[in-house]
Amino acid sequence: MRRNLLASRDGWQQIVEKQGLYYHTIDGVPYWDESVYYSFDAGELDPLEKATYACNEMCLAAVQHAIDHKLFDRFLISPAFVDFVVNSWETEEQSIYGRFDFCCQPSQPPKLLEYNADTPTALLEASVIQWFWLKDRFPTASQFNNIHERLMEVFQVIRGEGLPRFHFAAMKGHLEDYMTVQYLRDVAAQAGYGETGATYLDIEDIGWNQRRRTFTDLQERSLSAIFKLYPWEWMIREQFGPDLLEGETRWFEPAWKILLSNKSLLPLLWQLFGADPEKSAYLLPAFWSEEDLKRHLGLSASFVKKPILSREGCNITAVDGGRVIAETGGPYGAGPCIWQQLHRLPNFDGHFPVLGSWLVNGWACGMGIREDATPITGNTSRFVPHVLAQ
């Protein structure tokens, strides 16, 4: 894994805008940063693919374990929604996608930092924008990137289930979310839903028809299937939350993903697989209390403290040798936390990359790299493309 400098394409902003990336610059600083790229030798990403499959397997086992042992309190799921989540799991509701974030140090197995299982973004960048960049700059080179093709597959699978229409919803007024959802909508349209079968709807415009006991769009049509870029932990706590228990809408990602998009997954994975020499190689020790962490790893253990329901790198504290080395603010600081052993990201001259490995329809199928000048990756961390040697 090497970090390389390269002149950006002339007019790169206009180029990526034509491909759909309007949020290429945040507060005057490039978010899409093609003045840099990472390169990998042939076979160098094999461990990442292997780690992705291993982590997915462990995560699915963790869902089953959480259900069998009724660990819903750990995940802050109220009793009213337990059956809803369990039913979603037991009927094997299809998942579309997820992104595992790994720390990859040279000569070490990738270490799972967290799993963005419910509402991952940076999808358009990984699937489309870095692909066109590759074709422009390195036409004969390759990339770990089958994301688009796998998305096409999964929408064909879903269409085969007989769901006649597919809605796609994001929060009003947020361009990145909107574009992510529009990309997915467009793939679904190509996969057979067509422009009339795959339609966009603001999350705020989802309706609940009291008389018909169904969720509706603005034309009062029942929602048969909807992809919502909006987290389950918010949905179940909002006004329409109780109506989820009655409606017959198929939600994507499915409700069982609420158990995987929650930081309590990390200590549960360690509890289940920490003693397995092969599987634990991809995990970092994690615990539900600082006391447990220190009992297992020693009083001077370095750690990262994360709120169970935090998002986008908010409210994270990293402690090394008893000293806070990085800290972020945000709105999620009030709830319970987990403690994960600190694992330093590789440092390329002050740049810290996290490798996001995409899982679509059960396939490990692509990678997107985010880097930051701090060891905590957040919403504004730069997306940097990559090249894989043939």
């Binding site: 759909g20 999350i203 309706g207």
Partner: protein, 97 residues
């Protein structure tokens, strides 16, 4: 190759052709090889997605309108709305991760 994989590949090929894009035998072979080997990367696929949404740089209070013109006034406005979205706006962030 498993039968299901063969069906997947066949379907993908059909869709790409319909979308005005074709895959070469060489590309299919590489995809086959990758699946067999369980190895990532080395793809030469052509992406078929281009923006076909509605974007209004000057619209909305944030400078961006994300409402598509496919929306219309409900013909029978009997559903209650606004029951989702409040948390996202309260925390002032976006919902993706």
């Amino acid at each position: 190759m498993k039968l299901t994989q063969a069906i997947h590949l066949s379907l993908i090929g059909s869709v790409l052709v319909l979308a005005g894009c074709s895959r070469t035998d060489d590309e299919d072979q590489k995809d086959d090889d990758k699946d067999k080997n369980g190895r990532p990367g080395h793809t030469t696929h052509t992406h078929t997605w281009f923006p076909r949404y509605y974007y209004h740089p000057s619209g909305g209070s944030t400078g961006v309108s994300t409402t598509t013109p496919t929306h219309s006034t409900p013909s029978s406005p009997v559903s209650g709305r606004g029951g989702f979205g409040s948390t996202g706006h309260a925390v002032g962030g976006h919902a993706g991760t």
